[in-house]
């Protein structure tokens, strides 16, 4: 069932376009612009940092959008399948496995774009942070999918949170970033990896907590969406 759901998502032209175009757009084309934005906002984002953060943001946006559309586009059919005998939890498990698979794919595409542009000093740290971005936004997309029925309204909601996150995160503003930034923990690890500094254990633990929380939210969201009303 998981493979069928992954196949379903990859057959959508929008998904493929996002996977190819967004990493290129964020990492290759927009890194300089993001650095200038950061400067204007009082931040201190240097060139490699902007490129690395661009990779994280592209993975986040793709995973969040796909997480949302997995729920929004298949809600009624999933519910019918659950009622046919599979049950909401098995449908949710297959959906979340498919969503995590796509999030890994989004993170891989973003990492590849980043590796082409810059030499990352701690590649494994950077990969983990970009995957963290993906999984945190998967949870956000699933949450929005549960709460908002309309595809236009839901995708706008994901984009709105994304913009808040981007412009209030570390490097974009003075200080350590605002509490509005849901990917701050991933950004801290990614920025450190890009400039060659290690991340303290507390940063890793914070990132792990965000990722686990997001996966729990996504699982609950998929189960809620496929549940029976009786």
């Amino acid at each position: 069932m998981t493979l069928v759901f992954i196949r379903e998502q990859l057959r959508a032209p929008l998904t493929l376009a996002l996977l190819v175009a967004l990493p290129f757009l964020f990492v290759v084309l927009a890194a300089d612009v993001l650095g200038e934005f950061a400067d204007a906002l009082g931040g201190s984002l240097v060139a490699d940092g902007a490129t690395a953060l661009g990779a994280g943001w592209s993975a986040a946006f793709i995973a969040g959008t796909l997480g949302f559309f997995q729920i929004a586009s298949a809600r009624e059919a999933d519910r019918r399948l659950a009622r046919a005998g599979i049950g909401p939890f098995r449908v949710a498990a297959a959906r979340i496995a498919a969503a995590v698979g796509l999030a890994v794919l989004a993170a891989a595409a973003a990492y590849l774009a980043m590796a082409i542009e810059i030499d990352v000093v701690h590649p494994l740290h950077a990969a983990a942070a970009i995957l963290g971005y993906s999984l945190i936004y998967l949870g956000l997309g699933a949450l929005v999918g549960c709460l908002v029925r309309g595809e236009l309204e839901g995708s706008l909601a994901v984009a709105f949170v994304f913009l808040l996150d981007v412009f209030s995160g570390p490097g974009m503003t003075e200080g350590d970033g605002s509490p509005l930034s849901i990917s701050r923990s991933a950004a801290d690890v990614l920025l450190a990896a890009a400039i060659g500094a290690g991340s303290p254990t507390a940063d890793w633990l914070e990132l792990a907590a965000w990722v686990l929380g997001a996966l729990a939210v996504a699982g609950a969201g998929f189960a809620f969406s496929a549940r029976s009303r009786a």
Binding site: V4, E8, R79, A84
Partner: protein, 230 residues
């Protein structure tokens, strides 16, 4: 879809046209209302004590004008909507064909059969036989490899119906099942319904327009939230 036989025992039996057979479906005084509006909350009562029953070998019609609550009652029976009051008792395996084809746009016809075979816990051989039989009966075998977003409305509806019939349920619920069918398929649909009724399947057909009343064991009209037997 399945229902517990013990649920049927908890409901008082009502008179029926078929003597000696326990009902497959008993709907007893079901009520359902919806709230509308944000500032001034209005409550609209759609069902005000709807009751009906279907026994093995019966082909029962439920008619009513647009907005009378037919699909709401159907969704309550299936478990896709919660009822406010009353009882629903199901016995045996349930097949449900919703009014709108609840399918996944990017999956093929064959993939739909595989997913529902898993839901109905059919073996590979049973699933293959059921798929071949239904593709042949409804005459859409050549579309087995097509994605549903490539199908016409009528062919989507054939798939919708086939998924409900795959496991040969004891009780079949059909909500406007022939919308989009061409004449040949419409005639074939009624032949299929009669064949299955002869084998003991109980069938409830919901429609705003039932032209084939002579084929039905009886007809209920849903009016003012109640089912009236004609």
């Amino acid at each position: 879809m399945s229902g517990s036989p013990s649920e049927a025992e908890s409901v008082r039996p009502r008179p029926s046209t078929v003597a000696g057979e326990s009902p497959l479906l008993q709907v007893n005084k079901v009520t359902k209302g919806f709230r509308h509006g944000v500032l001034r909350r209005r409550r609209i009562e759609v069902l005000r004590g709807a009751s009906l029953e279907v026994r093995p070998g019966e082909l029962v019609g439920l008619v009513g004008e647009n907005g009378s609550g037919k699909s709401v009652l159907m969704k309550i029976i299936v478990g896709l909507l919660a009822r406010d009051g009353g009882e629903v008792a199901l016995a045996g395996r349930l097949g449900y064909c919703p009014q709108e084809a609840l399918v996944w746009e990017k999956l093929t016809v064959a993939e739909h059969f595989r997913l529902f075979a898993e839901a109905y816990e059919l073996t590979y051989e049973q699933a293959t036989r059921a798929q071949e039989r239904l593709l042949d009966e409804l005459q859409f075998a050549r579309y087995a490899g097509y994605r549903t977003d490539e199908l016409s409305g009528g062919t989507r509806q054939k798939l919708n119906l086939a998924l409900a019939l795959m496991h040969e349920p004891a009780l079949l619920l059909l909500d406007e099942p022939y919308s989009g069918f061409d004449w040949d398929t419409y005639v074939r649909f009624w032949e299929m319904a009669e064949e299955r009724r002869a084998q003991g399947m109980g069938i409830l057909i919901v429609s705003h327009l039932l032209a084939e009343r002579e084929r039905l064991s009886r007809v209920y009209t849903l009016s003012d939230g109640r089912c009236v037997e004609e």
